[in-house]
Symmetry: C2
Subunit: 224 residues, 2 copies
């Protein structure tokens, strides 16, 4: 139960969580790509995490890694820090939503539980961050998320953007320019099955066409 996890370990756990959330183990290669690290380094770290007392991941050779309860708890703690920090930076310090990921990714490993609690209550215990990502509660319960990719929306349905799965600052700035941010209402006007282009109207604005590389990263819920 001791909390001596290093920054690299916390980042591994965070990414294993994201990759294995659907139930399928996180693979060496995917982790390596996300962490910006050589696959061999991932194998080494996974074996170490599986050998800790208590183990943070379960692992069988060539089968990828899954979090143990202890590993999941540690991952959710870091994710809570990250998302609360992003929210605080945007809400209280005037950062824009494309500036906060990097900053939060460094701060998340060093803030105390006291700091976590203070910013959470300064923000009114928010449940979602500026990108619409759910923030685990203080008890580490992850809010449920029913949203689905905008890519799947078909005319004439409309929906509300709940979440944007992106960290790349230029991409986030582009989405912002298009009005494709959480809370925006999007109506599907046309879908082209061959190139997967989707024509949409955002918040009563002009019709525009967006490719799958964009619409797959935007998550919506059909409402109204």
């Amino acid at each position: 139960m001791k909390e001596n996890l290093t920054q690299p370990i916390q980042d591994y756990l965070k990414h294993i969580y994201a990759l294995s959330e659907a139930g399928t183990p996180a693979t060496t290669t995917d982790l390596a790509a996300r962490l910006g690290v050589a696959p061999a380094s991932v194998t080494g770290m996974i074996q170490r995490l599986a050998g800790l007392q208590p183990p943070l991941v379960t692992y069988r050779k060539h089968q990828g890694a899954l979090l143990t309860p202890a590993g999941k708890r540690a991952a959710l703690e870091v994710i809570r820090h990250h998302r609360l920090l992003e929210t605080y930076l945007v809400t209280m310090l005037g950062f824009s939503w494309d500036e906060v990921h990097e900053e939060a990714c460094r701060l998340e490993h060093v803030i105390s539980e006291t700091f976590e609690e203070r910013i959470a209550s300064a923000l009114g215990n928010p449940t979602h961050d500026p990108h619409g990502d759910p923030i685990p509660s203080a008890a580490l319960e992850m809010p449920t998320d029913e949203s689905t990719p905008l890519l799947g929306l078909r005319p004439p349905h409309s929906a509300v953007i709940m979440r944007v799965q992106a960290t790349d600052p230029p991409f986030l700035r582009h989405l912002n320019n298009l009005g494709l941010i959480p809370g925006a209402r999007v109506q599907a006007l046309a879908f082209s099955p061959f190139d997967q282009n989707l024509q949409v109207r955002v918040n009563e604005g002009e019709a525009q066409i967006i490719g799958a590389a964009i619409s797959a990263k935007i998550y919506v819920e059909e409402k109204g």
Copy 2:
């Protein structure tokens, strides 16, 4: 001019700055004590810092270390982070002055220049932190400090507390209980040369006697 300094290096520089501020080189032993590290580790690190391009310290065997201009700049940058963070935690997040040192000592190494600038302007570009320590400006100029130890105040002079040189939480809580905080007015009522006890009145309160272990850590300026 690259900013790849690790957290341990930044902490070394910060402590070398504090120890050599008066002009005398920082000794291996003093650094080891402050950093909570073995003397041999300090020697190794100092030699490394002196060998960097550009060098961050000058060093002659057995003579201790002094900061180079580059080293001083890096140290002041960290100190500015630390003291702005302490101020922010107290002013904006409701921390008490004994809680902030540890937190700031971790955060100081990971905040961006943007973050630094945002909290500085949210605070109105303060020049002193909650303990009265001067905060280097954005241009890394250290505000001058003319204060002297309360230990040197003699009856019937009185003075204002400018600064408290302490990081130990219980000690800081004790000072707070006695009202010995920056801004408080202190009048010397009696001094006992043998035990160095000083009898003082704080802000029109009851007379009290404080030992040298306390009065040497409190810095004052005679005013009025």
